[in-house]
């Protein structure tokens, strides 16, 4: 630690530049990473909403509706089907309009159609299910949210691709700048490195102080970027709560583990911190490895 601090003090501007570029990269990475996580969480959430709702005509017998339901379930393309009877529909209507007695007086269970809310296993099955339903008799209307999910999928893919390109550029730029900064520092010690090689030092012995310094800068930059990011997120927590109003839970699958990202929680923050720290140290190590390579050929 003492040697790292001494090295930083000897070349303060190079160290500061290396630190700032690392901080900038890690902070932007953090924003991209968390934004993408939330986008995926939102997509997962929307996929759990009823994807096809079919309204039957008022006169349709329950037996007929159950027949359609059973046929759909046996197709293997449906995850779950919820039957909403006339009475269920009326209860929902009452709940939604509980503050408006006039509307409640005008409607009775008889005029509300029975319906099925169908959850498909995959969004690509939606058109097929909708087509099948339209061909059945006694159908009043088929509604499905394919457009919304398609748009979200396109949006997520576009953002993911743009993020990947931006992210790659950011990594490349950081490694190049960091390597250059470390090269400046090493150039000042070129003769020392040559001497160490001649007296039998291993490459690792020579690299160690530069790698340790880079790791120190990587960990410090990732901690600071995480700290500032967390502060911003917590500062806008009330805004986020109103934005995600009604959404009780957002989660993403990570290696079969269901990670809850909303509401914000310690596990999510810990995973983000660990990921960004690993990322920061890897970038710093790669840069110092490349930089030291140049002076090890004695």
């Amino acid at each position: 630690m003492k040697e790292i601090w001494t090295s930083i003090k000897r070349t303060p501007y190079q160290s500061l530049s290396a630190f700032l570029i690392l901080f900038f990269t890690l902070f932007l990475t953090l924003i991209l990473f968390v934004s993408l996580t939330f986008l995926y969480g939102t997509l997962n959430y929307l996929e759990t909403k009823p994807q096809v709702t079919v309204y039957f005509q008022n006169k349709t017998e329950e037996n007929q509706i159950f027949k359609v339901r059973d046929e759909l379930m046996s197709s293997g393309k449906v995850l779950n089907i919820k039957y909403i009877s006339k009475n269920d529909a009326f209860n929902i209507y009452k709940q939604l309009n509980k503050d408006n007695p006039l509307l409640l007086e005008m409607v009775s269970a008889d005029i509300l159609p029975p319906s099925l809310e169908i959850y498909a296993k995959k969004p690509i099955y939606l058109p097929e299910i909708a087509e099948y339903l339209k061909k059945q008799g006694d159908i009043d209307e088929v509604q499905y949210e394919k457009d919304i999910i398609d748009k979200l999928l396109v949006l997520t893919n576009t953002i993911r691709m743009s993020a990947l390109i931006f992210f790659s550029y950011l990594i490349l730029m950081s490694i190049v700048v960091l390597t250059t900064m470390i090269l400046f520092k090493i150039a000042l010690k070129e003769s020392e490195i040559a001497l160490l090689k001649l007296i039998g030092a291993t490459d690792f012995y020579i690299r160690k102080p530069y790698i340790l310094e880079s790791l120190f800068l990587g960990i410090t930059a990732s901690t600071l970027s995480f700290g500032i990011f967390s502060f911003i997120v917590l500062y806008f927590n009330s805004f986020l709560q109103s934005y995600f109003n009604g959404i009780t839970n957002l989660s993403v699958d990570i290696f079969n583990y269901q990670l809850t990202i909303w509401p914000l929680n310690y596990i999510f923050f810990t995973i983000v911190f660990v990921s960004i720290s690993i990322f920061g140290t890897v970038i710093a190590s790669v840069a110092s490895y490349i930089a030291t390579n140049k002076y090890l050929r004695v």
Binding site: L196, L198, A201
Partner: protein, 225 residues
Amino acid sequence: MITFDKVTKKFPLGNTALNDVSFEIDDNQFVFLVGQSGAGKTTILKMITQEIKPTSGSIIVDDFDVTDKNFSQKIDLRRKIGIIFQDFKVLSNKNVFENVAVSLKVIGRDQSEIKTEVKRALELVGLSKKEFVFPVQLSAGELQRVAIARAVIGDRNIILADEPTGNLDPKTAWDIMKIFKKLEGKRTIIIATHNTDIVNSFQKRVLVLKEGKIIKDQRKGGYEL
């Protein structure tokens, strides 16, 4: 033992630094390499440390065949060699003790061993009282003493010195050579030098180089070109 067998070194631009050079140096022998600038003295020293590889021929240093294509023990070889340069190459950010200790640190010796051996080496070169002094406060002669201490410490049984007195006044140069004299018979010592007085007074083996060839090999010779 160091063996050069028909060693030739041609640089890419065509100049020949060594031309069919053969010689043997026994363990603990004291040898001067003399010759004009560009005669090939430094090239021989650099080939022993594997800084330069020969174009042809074979070099064996302490049982290491350094010309073997599969040679992978460069680090082990260099840990047996101590090097002294004309410009000292003392690390300016380290004090005398640390400069000498680096020679043992790179081979992973433990701290107590380093302390004992560095003190002994500093005693040998007469710098016991200056172990915590930084290079900027040392004279040229003292800097060269530090470099010698760094070269002789540990298991380094081959000492290569490239113009060790080249930057020193005659009085200091003699003081430095007295240290080499103390090491005589304990290490293999090869000194490349232009210093006529020193070579003549030591009366040790002298290899005379001219235009990349050994033109004389005298067992108890003087400086004759």
